[in-house]
């Protein structure tokens, strides 16, 4: 290489270094103040995005921007656990399930919020539900959810049907609808977690009588093959065999089932109050719809509503690089007016003390319904058998299993896990 070429290459290298070291003109404003990029908080969650709430926060806090990531409910727990273990977890997330929450607390992956003054803004029952085994609280119950039955008021009016208040009345309503060529219920059973709403959920139906029941499954104190549970599986089997579930539900996803419900193809669809925010924007019903408590109780038993905040508990990842900013966001969100705004935007139930969501028609409807019933916490089956718990219902729908066989299979799966733990 000649001297000239060498000089040119040195000059070019020097220019590169200098340009890299120089600050970008756009980084300085005309006033000379530094225009730093806002700190970005990642919030991963399974409910619909509260865009209005986030917009308000981002406007009031120009130094922090909350970015929302929607993860589908049935993929939420595995996606989140993989990310947390790989150190790529979001700043804010929902731990999902009681046992997962307890594990995350034990491993110190969540920030302790117990002593934050704004925790007093929340309902005491909501705080009780999220209190960890060590007596501390590791997140905020941003709203509450309830399992309900959506129904087509126009169809009910057409056939002079009253809202059923127990299982026997529910079966009568289903029979009348079926005789008139209307599918009584519809569920998107292709999505696994939708199978728990076919007729009623076994765990919720049993927890209705004793809310500690599902917890005893983990210790082996109770079994799915106990006579009282076999009876529940038998009820579920009868419900399916009588044809009260829309023919073809097994091939539908959650959204498809809602679309068909909104088209008036079935009279009822069970689910959570969050459905109206998640599913209705895509499939608006052109009829009057209402909500009722799922009639799981037998005649003479009290009707109750499964209600909880565990699935809407949001926590700060202790490995987050923006702990202070996340706390600022939590403090802001925990103000009663913002919790109310959040509940109304997501059409859910407000957890702020002495506040009722009434600006949104749906949120008011849920609050009013829930206030009429005694509530009990939504607790699910042990996490290890989640997929199998739903798959045996699919088997019952296609006629591959009886209720008893389904109960036996799920108990076998649970026994295998429990015996492994004891080894």
């Amino acid at each position: 290489m000649g001297n000239k070429a060498r000089m040119v290459s040195i000059a070019l290298s020097a220019m590169l270094v200098l340009s890299a070291c120089a600050s970008h003109p756009s980084e300085k404003s005309t006033t000379g103040q530094s225009q730093e990029e806002p700190v970005v908080l990642k919030w991963a969650y399974w409910q619909a995005e509260p865009t209005g709430v986030l917009e308000k926060f981002n406007q009031e806090h120009p130094g922090i921007r909350v970015e929302y990531e929607l993860i589908s409910s049935d993929q939420y727990i595995n996606t989140m656990n993989v990310r947390l273990l790989s150190g790529e977890g979001p700043d804010i997330f929902e731990p999902r399930y009681v046992d997962n929450y307890a594990t995350l607390v034990e491993e110190k992956r969540l920030v302790d919020m117990t002593d934050e003054p704004y925790m007093a803004n929340y309902n005491e029952d909501a705080i009780d539900m999220i209190t960890a085994p060590d007596g501390r609280v590791y997140g905020i119950p941003v709203d509450a959810i309830a399992w309900l039955m959506f129904y087509n008021k126009d169809i009910f009016a057409q056939y002079n049907l009253a809202v059923p208040t127990n299982w026997e009345e529910f079966l009568d309503v289903c029979q009348t609808l079926k005789e008139n060529g209307i599918a009584p219920t519809i569920q998107g059973c292709k999505d696994l977690n939708q199978n728990q709403f076919v007729g009623f959920d076994i765990v919720q139906a049993r927890n209705q009588q004793d809310s500690t029941w599902s917890g005893k499954l983990e210790t082996g104190e109770v079994k799915f093959t106990d006579p009282d549970i076999l009876e529940l599986y038998q009820r579920k089997e009868d419900f399916i065999n009588k044809g009260y579930l829309y023919d073809g539900s097994i091939g539908l996803t959650f959204i498809q089932s809602w679309q068909l419900f909104c088209e008036g193809k079935a009279a009822m669809n069970a689910g959570g109050n969050w459905y109206s925010a998640q599913a209705f924007p895509q499939a608006k019903p052109d009829f009057n719809y209402g909500v009722m408590a799922i009639p799981m109780n037998m005649k003479g038993e009290e009707q109750k509503i499964p209600y909880g905040v565990m699935s809407s508990l949001i926590c700060i990842n202790s490995a987050s690089r923006h702990l202070e900013e996340a706390k600022v966001f939590f403090e802001w969100l925990s103000q009663p007016e913002n919790l109310k705004l959040y509940a109304e935007e997501l059409q859910s139930i407000c957890t702020a003390k002495d506040i009722v969501s009434d600006d949104s028609e749906q949120a008011a409807m849920y609050s009013q319904l829930i206030s009429q019933y005694e509530k009990y916490p939504i607790l699910t089956q042990p996490t290890g058998i989640t997929a199998d718990y739903h798959k045996v219902v699919q088997d019952m729908i296609i006629g591959n299993k009886t209720g008893e066989q389904a109960a036996q299979e799920i108990q076998n799966k649970l026994d295998a896990i429990l015996s492994q733990r004891q080894e």
Partner: protein, 293 residues
């Protein structure tokens, strides 16, 4: 000689390092975790010996998933090869209009992501609001549900097979085309002089000389089919019930939905060993059949 060996080693070193980091270490790690009760949500891991394997061989869903995977393997590997060879032979021997364009069209599905392919066919075959439903409605079909291919376990498996064949037949076609193009024309001329007709030429000239291509296609398809996951997960999620469960979906459901990573890695270890055994046997068998020109 020593210097040459060192140079060769240095050239191979990047590839060896890459292989160790992205394959060997995770494989050994996976085998290790198959002997633990790791849930996937905690850093706490406890060694439990062969417990996961004992449980696996007592799990009826494991046998369903093995059965379904083998059914998919047999149907898909055979029909993909037949379709690939037929397409290649037709395009190679016949004067087809738009030959180059057709080659590209047949090859394109293999470039698509399996997830995209799964969702596309799911949408096409959806009887409620998919493209298929428009045809059914055009024929004034009342009960659309009767035509849902994913409700019947047997039809659901066959539909999955169809999608898998559709996706990769074009890929096999390109391998067979390269094999066919390497056969000297003089062999066909000699067969022609000996009085062999087209079928005899294919049987006694083409087929023995494309055995290496058959070996490659069978080898790749077999491994792919044993690992079948995306299409099944997207289209049926292994359901209804466990009717269309493959080893891949069973492993995923156990490891990620059931939060039993230890159990999931035991399934993947068995799958790894299965692939190793099947492909070794298949490679040895096909090597014997190969003919040198």
């Amino acid at each position: 000689m020593k210097k040459q060996r060192l140079t060769a080693f240095l050239f191979l070193l990047p590839a060896i390092l890459l292989f160790i980091i992205v394959f060997a270490i995770p494989t050994i790690g996976g085998i290790y975790y198959s002997f633990t009760d790791w849930s996937g949500m905690t850093r706490n891991v406890r060694l439990i010996g062969l417990s996961n394997y004992r449980r696996l061989f007592q799990d009826p869903v494991f046998y369903i998933s093995v059965r379904n995977t083998l059914i998919i393997c047999v149907i898909v590997v055979v029909l993909r090869n037949v379709a690939g060879l037929w397409l290649a032979n037709t395009l190679h021997t016949r004067n087809v209009f738009g030959k180059g364009y057709l080659k590209a069209v047949f090859f394109i599905p293999s470039l698509l992501s399996s997830i995209v392919v799964g969702y596309t066919w799911l949408y096409i075959l959806n009887v409620h609001n998919g493209i298929f439903s428009y045809f059914l409605k055009a024929f004034q079909v009342e009960n659309l549900t009767k035509f849902d291919v994913f409700l019947n376990p047997v039809i659901a498996i066959l539909t999955i097979c169809f999608v898998l064949i559709w996706q990769f037949s074009g890929y096999n076609m390109t391998i067979y085309l390269s094999g066919l193009q390497s056969i000297p024309k003089s062999l066909y001329e000699a067969a022609d002089i000996d009085g062999a007709n087209r079928i005899q030429q294919f049987r006694y000239v083409t087929l023995p000389l494309i055995v290496p291509s058959i070996t490659v296609c069978t080898f790749l398809n077999l491994i792919g089919c044993l690992k079948t996951f995306e299409e099944v997960y997207v289209m049926t999620k292994g359901g209804p019930g466990n009717a269309t469960e493959t080893i891949g979906t069973f492993m995923y459901n156990s490891a990620f939905n059931g939060l039993q990573m230890g159990y999931g890695t035991a399934i993947s270890t068995i799958l790894f060993l299965g692939i190793l055994v099947v492909t070794t046997i298949q490679l040895k068998a096909s090597r014997r059949m190969e003919v040198q020109i």
